[in-house]
Point group: C2
Chain length 322, copies 2
């Protein structure tokens, strides 16, 4: 059943033995929400465990208590409540799904949420699940420590591109403001989040060498980057942010990044004024108007040709999303 913030708080209040989890491939929102909620419930004297069927990425190891996050093993755990954070379906929590026997409370902000849980609070207007956790903490007048504020600021900032994405609302920034008042330090947090392995910076020249620009007339361009398997091996999949290079070039309306895998090509699309989700949908993918993706089961050269043709057609339609 659908629950309110107050009801969610009540469910947490009534439970004593609580398991918290979040989606695999955890991002800042999953981890920040997990750690902040864990800190609050632990301070309430509850028996809490954080289970996550994945590693904590190095980037987020500045968050307090990350090392208390456990991986699920084969043993079955009984609890009063399993809280599933930032996951729109139960598949996304991996092995935790079968490891825990408990009623499920799902707190999430994905519009694609499948409402799989016993209790769910899904706010697709929230930029991050971290906003929902902060609302719950405010509703119960919780003491928010600097560590919790840091975790929640990280959750919110990572999911809205550090206040650059279209989901950055007046509430997003107000929460960020309140979290700074509670001890979150944007300059420290951003420093940790922006840190990259040397391999990523060192690979950048090779990546940028693949830059192709197609002029579609009237000063409107499509720009593409291609990551071959050799480069991807060096990068260990750490390719986030590369697509911003073509995207940020003056005159570029559509940016594309091709990532070669063994038998297909993963395609990321970004745009300024063109609805690129339409292009992605045409290849069985999806996403938003400004950011979408798909996988094309063709060799690299053919995949590139197909996508670039589709992008040109979409650009020619001249429909603006602004």
């Amino acid at each position: 059943m659908e629950v309110s913030i107050a009801h969610s708080a009540e469910l947490l209040h009534r439970a004593n033995h609580i398991i918290l989890t979040a989606h695999i491939h955890p991002d800042g929102d999953a981890l920040g929400s997990l750690l902040a909620l864990n800190a609050y419930l632990s301070a309430q004297g509850k028996q809490v465990r954080m289970l996550l069927d994945d590693e904590v990425p190095r980037t987020f190891k500045f968050l307090a208590d990350w090392e208390k996050i456990e991986k699920p093993d084969s043993s079955e755990i009984e609890a009063d409540l399993l809280v599933v954070l930032d996951a729109s379906d139960l598949e996304r929590v991996g092995k935790v799904r079968n490891a825990v026997k408990a009623p499920i409370l799902n707190l999430d902000h994905h519009i694609s949420n499948l409402k799989f849980a016993d209790y769910w609070y899904v706010d697709s207007q929230a930029a991050a699940t971290g906003e929902i956790i902060f609302k719950i903490l405010n509703a119960v007048q919780a003491t928010v420590t600097a560590d919790m504020a840091t975790a929640l600021f990280t959750a919110i900032a990572t999911d809205c591109g550090f206040f650059r994405f279209a989901n950055t609302s007046t509430e997003t920034l107000r929460f960020a403001s309140e979290l700074v008042a509670l001890g979150a330090k944007p300059h420290i947090i951003s420093e940790y989040l922006d840190t990259k392995p040397l391999a990523v910076i060192a690979a950048l020249p090779k990546v940028l060498e693949t830059l192709e620009i197609v002029d579609c007339g009237q000063g409107r361009q499509i720009a593409a980057l291609t990551l071959r398997q050799e480069i991807l091996a060096d990068l260990r999949e750490d390719t986030e942010g590369f697509i911003n290079y073509p995207r940020n070039i003056e005159g570029v309306e559509i940016a594309v990044m091709f990532k070669e895998t063994d038998n297909s090509v993963r395609v990321s699309l970004r745009s300024k004024t063109v609805d690129v989700s339409k292009i992605a949908l045409g290849f069985g993918g999806g996403g938003h108007a400004r950011a979408a993706g798909c996988t094309v089961a063709e060799p690299l050269s053919k995949a590139k040709r197909l996508i670039m043709e589709a992008a040109k057609k979409q650009l020619a339609k001249g429909v603006s999303i602004k």
Copy 2:
């Protein structure tokens, strides 16, 4: 004399013919403050002109009314008030200084402000002069249009590195939140601000090839980029942001960028835990603990050696600024 927000508002209210100006090499804060204040005063039916002794950089030409900004010519202008925005001394407004005969109101946030004006409001705690303008507009209960909100959001966001710098306060983010409520769109603004000429992206591989990393033991490193004159010619001085590449590498404590000029080398320093203003001061420069700069009147190779030695010494002291 020092004035309050209310007194500043009163001075603006009493004047009819008002000239607005800001510092040369205008940034987002100078231009956003200028345009927002101009919009408010014009709506009040006042005779307002914006004078700026410089070009408006392309990046900021999305701000409404930028084309109304005039360059001062040789004629002398009399006015009831000259408002000097975001400038800490009168030199910084160039020819406007002599072109306008009027009492001066200076609104600024630089700690180095020389208090040169007839009336000054200087708040060094403000992340941007845009915050001060917003306070004045709020004090007089001005109608803030979406265009004005966009100008002020741009002013604030550019001066705090889009909420990443240490000057990002709880008030900075609260103002940003209120400006979004008034119609500023962070995703549109950031898109304009992030746009770069192709030449800058195309030069990046060459720039990154100059990356040097000096290991100082205990996993602490100094990383340097060197921009020779040839590359700088391609870039037309558009080198902002390059220093973030060495700065963001895992393990790097001090990042340095050397820019070769005809007879000296301009040095930018960034750090995470070391006070680099001490290094800059040693060469007649200055700045903050985390961001400083200086000019060394030596050939490139000697300048590099001197700075890298000083950086190693500063790192060895092991004093943390966090």
